[in-house]
């Protein structure tokens, strides 16, 4: 059974069909890359999966670990093991990084029937994980994402991923706004979490990220459908010829 299965997903925004029957099966241990030009439906797909208000499917289904996600609220989906790394992480003035992380992690642990962290144990764990992502203590004391640089925001997203230990992670253009050093740190953070029991979907415009997070499968999304699937070589083809030729051929 796949960890995540999108079945013929159709979705409209403002009466315009954006997703036109996407199907995708992601198995445990796999990394899938979804590439496509602007407006192809990549971000819509990630919001749909995360359960954002207004992004409900017209028809089709999404199964996480065999269970339909559609009736679950965004927080239930997250507690069930779905994680979305935001393209534009949201600023939360007045909400401290450490308490935010703890609230999130404890919500997930409670759902899993695991013991919730007390304050001290959590701080220790968070600091350990944070140092791997080069997230300084001082950053965890600040309000979430407020005054963070582009790179800091993305590192903080991946730190959340590392601490929540999701079964399926969707990284929505995590490479956008990153310089090469930040890209390496973020990619290493993601790679460290690859395992036989989870799966990762990487959404990106560019092949560059896929040099660092090497996918098992690459899918080309265009105008709301997947027009081509293949191995990592497909990303190189995009890099060489652009999307246009591929879209015309499809």
């Amino acid at each position: 059974m796949s960890l995540l299965e999108i079945q013929k997903a159709h979705l409209k925004l403002d009466n315009k069909e954006i997703l036109k029957g996407i199907s995708l099966a992601v198995n445990a241990g796999e990394v899938h890359a979804i590439m496509g030009p602007n407006g192809s439906g990549k971000s819509t797909m990630s919001y749909m999966l995360a359960g954002r208000d207004g992004y409900e499917l017209e028809s089709g289904d999404v199964l996480l670990d065999g269970k339909s996600l559609l009736d679950m609220s965004p927080d239930e989906r997250a507690r069930s093991g779905l994680f979305l790394a935001f393209q534009y992480p949201v600023e939360l003035p007045g909400v401290g990084g450490m308490s935010f992380l703890r609230e999130a992690v404890n919500s997930r642990r409670k759902y899993l029937g695991e013991k919730e962290y007390d304050h001290l144990a959590f701080v220790k764990e968070a600091r350990k994980e944070a140092s791997k992502m080069f997230v300084k203590d001082e950053m965890l004391k600040r309000s979430v994402n407020v005054g963070f640089s582009g790179g800091e925001k993305k590192r903080f997203e991946i730190l959340q991923m590392a601490m929540l230990k999701p079964t399926v992670s969707i990284l929505d253009e995590t490479d956008s706004g990153l310089d090469i050093d930040a890209l390496k740190i973020v990619s290493e953070g993601v790679n460290a979490q690859r395992s036989d029991s989870n799966a990762i979907i990487v959404i990106t415009h560019y092949q560059r990220l896929l040099d660092y997070i090497v996918p098992d499968f690459v899918h080309i999304l265009s105008d709301g459908v997947i027009i081509k699937s293949g191995g990592p070589e497909l990303a190189l083809e995009v890099e060489k010829n652009g999307y246009v030729g591929m879209i015309n051929a499809a």
Binding site: G51, S73, P74, D75, A78, E91, G94, E103, A104, L164
Partner: protein
Amino acid sequence: MLHKKNDEYINSVQNYANSFQKNNFRKVACNDFKGWPDPLEETWRLSRLGALTRKKIEPITPDLKKHISLEPILKDSICISFVDGAYREDLSSKLPDGISLTHLNEEECLSFLSKIKSTNLSNHPSTNSSLSCTPSIIKISIHNNFNLDKLLEIVYLGGIENKSVHPVLFLELNKSSSLSIIERFNHLGSLIMPLQLIEIGELASLKSIKIFNDSIKSYNLSAHSVTLSNKSTYSSFSLIKGGEFTRSETHASLKGENAELNLNGVYISGSKQHHDLTTAIYHDVANCTSRQIVRGVLGGESTGVFQGKVRVAPDAQKTDGQQMSKAILISDKASANAKPELEIYADDVVCAHGATVGELDDEQLFYLNSRGISMDKAREILIKAFLEDIVIQSVDQPLHDFIFNEANTGLSLIIERNEKV
């Protein structure tokens, strides 16, 4: 001023005032008490006293044996208690040498009355009814150069349903003195009409916190007049969370150059509560600064009002006045009104104001939800965050926990109530 007549209450105030032997100042005051402000009065338009005018109320006769108290917030605080509006020496701390507390004598009361009458509180309902019915006017004076290194805590307790309570306080900070004070209003089901005159002398500094937490059936109509002298500072933070109807009205006059004023406030309102923070800041002289941040969180069917007037006199050049109010509605049936008002007659000034009323931000809620945090918890986190920075800015460290706790208990009540709606 237009009034809604309430002969029964007016008569009871007059009878009460006349029951005193020597009562010159009470007579003057009670003759000026004409009832409740009419809703046609601009400053009372958003806070109507209709329900109050229909209540049968009379002034309380303080029970001087009533033994009630509130645990001090800090262990080594200097505590002063008012019960039923009367100062209670037996329930108060011994004061250090730099502070004196006196009951004003008849002559002093008259001069207090004429001082109040020269302010913009002269027609406030609490002015005339409290001057008519107060057990005594209490003056607390901080001597020259005295800096109280402890917290002064004043609690206002007591009250009975259908009785009005009238504590009147004259707080005087003499030259170069400083004081940190917290006042808590915790009355039971009644009408509370506190009247305060605060005079801050040259180079003196007053930090003040007021917590309005009267019972859910109470009306509190507080009236405060503050004057600041040269190089003095007044930093005030009010938290309104109790009462059926609480209005805190403060008039602050900057009368000496280089004076600094902070007049911040938070209201947390639920069920059918009505909370009103009305302020007027008068920049009478040049080179003064005023800062004002107001935040409101409203649930249930509550209503919140912020009226903030800033007046800059023609001579008050180089005035720097900033005002910002924000309210968040967490229920469809709650409403908030903000009425900033700038009257600027000087030309070389920096004055700004902003007022917003809104809901919690959907993007922020979704971000928290997407991390597994439930909608209720996410709302709570964002509401607390909304109040956090104003508390940190307005309150000194040793009182942070207490104020956060007071705010959070208020929030937990209105958030729960909100879910039931």
